[in-house]
């Protein structure tokens, strides 16, 4: 079970409170976790990754065990702590705008 922490606006869209959890088959990486999140919460499709390009939206970041993984390959295996549910994958909205 992988834990994912989403920004507040995405939690509202998904009608969830707090962290979400997903089952991931195979290699646990950001790509497979996002696929699992979108499968469980299809209303989030297009909000984390652009529908057309499938790239991370510019004002979102991925943090893993206190490190910024935003520019790492999406298929890079996540640490065991995340894969085992001891630490969450953080999807964070940039502090910007007005």
């Amino acid at each position: 079970m992988v834990r994912v922490e989403l920004p507040a606006h995405l939690r509202a869209l998904a009608h969830v409170k707090g962290e979400v959890t997903v089952e991931v088959a195979g290699t646990v990486c950001i790509l497979s976790v996002l696929d699992a999140v979108e499968a469980k919460y299809p209303m989030l499709e297009g909000t984390i990754r652009d529908h057309g390009t499938r790239k991370r939206r510019p004002f979102l970041r991925f943090f893993v065990c206190a490190e910024d993984w935003s520019h790492d390959p999406l298929d890079k295996p996540l640490p065991e702590a995340v894969a085992q549910g001891q630490e969450p994958l953080l999807v964070i909205g940039a502090i910007a705008g007005g």
Binding site: H9, H15, M43, E45, G46, H51, R57, F59, G97
Partner: protein
């Protein structure tokens, strides 16, 4: 008893304002989708409980919301709350999927347009500016998007398909973004000819289809824009908004970047009707629901100063289809007012007398229940208003 429902899109959420036919006392609900930019909301003429909304964010992209109960509850079409993707079910998570058509089969629409620096730039979807529900089918709705293109859904907003003949008809490489982006902001569905559609793009101009959106042609003859290399070019004009007379659909009005224009022949030719306006820069324009030659604009000082001249918020009304304008000030601030009125932020109801509504970037939504003679703020402290639409309820 008749009533009205005013749908207000703002920078930080949507608000719904309701009143009876007197339009004196108002109930306010909202913010819906608090914190999100709500570019536009509009109800179906066939089913007033069906409302479509464009919810957008610089962080999370585009969301389409739909209400089937007059704005009490909302959902993303195809993705009801609590449902997850299931085999063989309705498409899920695609109501916000706006993907440009690049297929050879549909004419290989062009994939680049002119950018600010004059180079060709790929089309990139950013957001939905305007949603226009069909006049005959609650499940059919059109979306005008940035970068400029027209999409259509025939399943209540669950999925979208580009009407790619617009981008592909030939002038696309000459379209370019205005200061607000390259947006398709106006969609007019002809009430007497189901196959006729008008749209407008900043900065390209106005276009018309006579075959339901399959093929398109520019309709900009008569427009003169001194800020572009060829002032009378076929495309390249920064049209801010177009409006249509309900009784005479061939009668169109336009607020261009500068100039207020009128067409009597469905856009084939345009004539300037700015007349005695204090400035002919502005964003909104609308037509009285009962009088095709009674029109409304809100003059804005200039393209460099987006607020009313002299700090006086004035609606100007012409009862002669332009040229001769009267200022309407009763109930509007006449000192120290420096708000703007954005292009989709004016609407009219169909009651008798015609109600006129507009919203400002200062968060006011004004109503005139008497065709513009007197104005009252319904609300005055909302976030910046992006759009105002009105539903007249039986």
């Amino acid at each position: 008893m008749s009533g009205v429902r005013v749908l207000v899109g703002t920078k930080k959420g949507a608000f719904i304002l309701t009143s009876d036919g007197k339009r004196e006392k108002w109930d306010v609900s909202g913010p819906h989708f608090a914190g999100w930019e709500m570019y536009h909301l509009k109800g179906s003429p066939m089913d007033p409980n069906r409302i479509y909304a464009s919810q957008t964010s610089g962080w999370f992209g585009q969301i389409i919301q739909r209400s089937d109960d007059g704005g009490k509850t909302w959902h993303q079409p195809g993705t009801p709350p609590g449902e997850t993707t299931g085999p063989g079910g309705q498409p899920k998570g695609e109501s916000n999927k706006f993907v440009y058509d690049t297929s050879q089969a549909t004419g290989a629409p062009l994939t680049t347009h002119q950018f600010y620096d004059g180079t060709q730039h790929p089309w990139e979807f950013k957001r939905v500016w305007h949603l226009e529900p069909s006049l005959s089918d609650p499940d059919t709705v059109y979306a005008g998007v940035e970068d400029a293109a027209l999409f259509k859904s025939t399943n209540g907003g669950k999925t979208w398909e580009e009407l790619s003949g617009l981008r592909g008809h030939g002038t696309g490489p000459n379209w370019q973004p205005g200061a607000g982006g390259m947006c398709l902001h106006s969609i007019l569905l002809d009430p007497k000819d189901a196959k006729r559609i008008f749209i407008a793009i900043s900065a390209a101009g106005a276009f018309r289809s006579d075959d339901g959106g399959k093929s398109w042609k520019p309709i900009n003859k008569g427009l003169k824009s001194l800020y572009i290399p060829n002032p009378e070019a076929e495309v390249g004009h920064c049209v801010h908004h177009i409006a249509q007379a309900r009784q005479k659909p061939e009668m169109l009005y336009m607020q261009k970047h500068w100039d207020v224009m009128r067409s009597l022949d469905a856009g084939e030719t345009w004539t300037e009707v700015s007349g005695n306006l204090p400035t002919d820069f502005g964003f909104v324009i609308d037509v009285n629901a009962h009088e095709p030659e009674t029109i409304y604009v809100v003059p804005i000082k200039s393209d460099g100063e987006h607020y009313p001249p002299e700090g006086k918020l004035r609606v100007y009304r012409s009862k002669s289809g332009g040229n001769e304008w009267e200022e309407l000030t009763k109930g509007l601030p006449q000192a120290n007012c420096y708000v703007n009125v954005l292009r989709d932020a004016m609407a009219v109801d169909t009651l008798d007398r015609c109600g006129v509504y507009f919203g400002t970037t200062g968060g006011q939504v004004y109503c005139s229940p008497d065709a513009g003679d007197n104005w009252t703020p319904i609300v005055h402290d909302l976030p910046a208003v992006y759009s105002v639409e009105v539903q007249t309820l039986a």
